[in-house]
């Protein structure tokens, strides 16, 4: 698929992933294209290779066949143009929340004062203004994920790779974090590739949902639900979720995920 290099794209092109010692490939011939400003969500049952695909995009796993590229450049290693947020936040406990956020800036040799200033801006963005001096173990699960998001954004990535970032959170915190994610996405126009188990979450967040099926992992359906665009243009999240169209989309997505389950 040809595209202008000026227009940033994160592309997985006919990617197959094979882990040593496994007969069936984890993923076979999956193509996904994330443009800047897209919010692409991968859903599917366990073992469909969602996280493997995310790791290929991150440069942490090499595909057996096919290619992963960013802006036309082949992905061979991790890079700060694609910052990753993991399920188990992977924060650094020897640093305060602010120092965690500033980590990418420190790697680039930016001065402490400037670092702190930008980290504070990001903490404000994720609504953690007063938590900058806290130690990681003093933060709740939701706060940790906010710090993780801010830390990823500090690297000024073109794309955010989110590996079930809300998976470990309780239902209420999850819902709050969904709006935070949407706000960040709207404000920053990064492209997002996210893996989740949550059907409602996928519908709320995604501009496009890619449904994968296991054995070997492959794409079975692709949706463009459009609810996140409605949020971006000012509609309240409760109104969106109460819309009959939302319930219908939810049923359709659930069917797609469990399609072929019986087969």
């Amino acid at each position: 698929m040809p595209h202008l290099v000026l227009d940033p794209h994160l592309v997985l092109d006919k990617v197959s992933i094979h882990y040593d010692g496994q007969a069936v490939p984890a993923v076979e011939l999956v193509s996904i294209d994330v443009a800047k400003g897209d919010f692409v969500v991968l859903v599917g049952r366990s073992g469909c290779g969602k996280t493997s695909l995310l790791n290929v995009a991150a440069g942490l796993v090499a595909p057996a066949r096919g290619r992963a590229s960013i802006n036309g450049k082949l992905i061979t290693a991790p890079g700060s143009d694609r910052a990753v947020v993991f399920q188990n936040d992977a924060l650094f406990p020897w640093l305060t929340a602010r120092e965690n956020v500033a980590f990418a800036l420190r790697l680039r040799g930016i001065r402490p004062a400037e670092r702190a200033r930008r980290a504070n801006e990001l903490l404000e963005l994720v609504k953690l203004t007063d938590a900058g001096d806290k130690r990681i173990w003093e933060l709740s699960g939701g706060m940790r994920q906010r710090v993780g998001l801010a830390r990823a954004l500090a690297a000024e990535p073109e794309f955010l790779l989110l590996d079930e970032p809300l998976g470990a959170l309780d239902a209420l915190t999850r819902e709050r974090m969904q709006t935070t994610l949407l706000d960040l996405w709207t404000a920053s126009d990064v492209g997002v590739l996210m893996v989740t188990h949550g059907i409602e979450e996928a519908l709320v967040l995604a501009t496009r949902i890619v449904v994968l099926a296991p054995g070997p992992g492959r794409v079975v359906r692709s949706f463009e639900p459009g609810f996140s665009r409605r949020y971006a243009s000012g509609e309240a999240i409760r109104t969106i979720k109460a819309d009959p169209a939302f319930a219908a989309a939810r049923g359709e997505l659930t069917d797609a995920i469990f399609e072929g389950e019986a087969a």
Binding site: P78, S80, F103, L161
Partner: protein
């Protein structure tokens, strides 16, 4: 790895529920009656009493078993007037200096070696067999060789202590490095960290609790090697003091020296635990 138990968390945090922090667990209500600490105190008192009693009843000749009072008096006398040309403090300082010089040498060599073992296959291939060879050899076995090679001066003594410290420092560092979570390393790399930056900013701090545990074990090992190192041509040091006293059958100085060595080891252990708590407050809280 130091495991900080819940009850050791700062007391003023316990009742704070500000909605932001993870709530601290309440310390379990103290069971009425006996505590382990009380039992320990009683045990020590009983041992002291038995010692005093058997000395008083002259069950054993005072040449072999001086009374606690005699040992205590000796402690005062040696602290004030000295024994074999040096006061107790001078002996202790000489010993401590050797142990700490050796500790610094062991850190300078052992931590990079541990890093190499933990990070690279080649490093592990080179250093693992060497350390495994060195580790089980008692210091008294290589002491003569060290003296043949490096003479009877101060460097030999420090070297012997250093060798005994090397394995604990390097192996603890290596195990700390191997225990670093892959997700943390991946996170750092995806934030743009180079290999060197991953080592400096992620692996080293992650391994720090384990390294400090290694230093604690090393101090113990070094302190027990001390007496061996001071057997040869020392003119000062607690080990030397005990050795000289033994030659003249001055048993009260021998017993006093042993107790002083034990007391210093206890203080060192306590101090490094405090340092651990300050330097790696996150240990055991993840």
């Amino acid at each position: 790895m130091t495991v900080t138990s819940y009850t050791e968390r700062p007391g003023h945090k316990i009742d704070e529920a500000d909605g932001l922090s993870v709530p601290w667990s309440r310390p379990s209500p103290k069971r009425k009656g006996i505590s382990a600490r009380m039992v320990s105190a009683v045990t020590i008192l009983v041992v002291l009493a038995l010692w005093a009693l058997s000395a008083r009843l002259q069950l054993v000749s005072p040449v072999f078993l001086p009374s606690p009072a005699a040992v205590w008096n000796k402690f005062i006398v040696v602290a004030r007037d000295g024994f074999v040309d040096a006061t107790l403090l001078q002996h202790a300082v000489a010993s401590l200096w050797r142990v700490f010089a050796a500790l610094i040498a062991a850190i300078i060599v052992g931590v990079p070696v541990g890093l190499a073992i933990g990070i690279s296959t080649v490093g592990r291939g080179i250093f693992d067999p060497l350390l495994e060879f060195l580790r089980p050899i008692p210091p008294l076995a290589y002491l003569p060789l060290v003296i043949i090679w490096f003479g009877i001066g101060e460097p030999s003594k420090i070297l012997v202590i250093t060798i005994s410290m090397l394995a604990p420092v390097a192996l603890s560092t290596a195990s700390g490095v191997r225990g670093v979570s892959q997700e943390r390393i991946n996170a750092a790399r995806s934030l743009g960290a180079t290999r060197a930056q991953v080592v400096r900013h992620v692996i080293l701090p992650s391994a720090l609790p384990s390294i400090l545990t290694g230093l604690r074990i090393a101090l113990g090992a070094g302190w027990s090697t001390l007496v061996a190192a001071e057997l040869v041509a020392a003119t000062r040091g607690l080990g030397f003091m005990i050795q000289s006293a033994a030659q003249f059958l001055v048993t009260d100085v021998v017993v006093m020296g042993i107790l002083v060595i034990a007391a210093i080891a206890f203080v060192l252990e306590f101090t490094i635990r405090r340092i651990e708590r300050v330097l790696v407050p996150w240990a055991g809280r993840e």
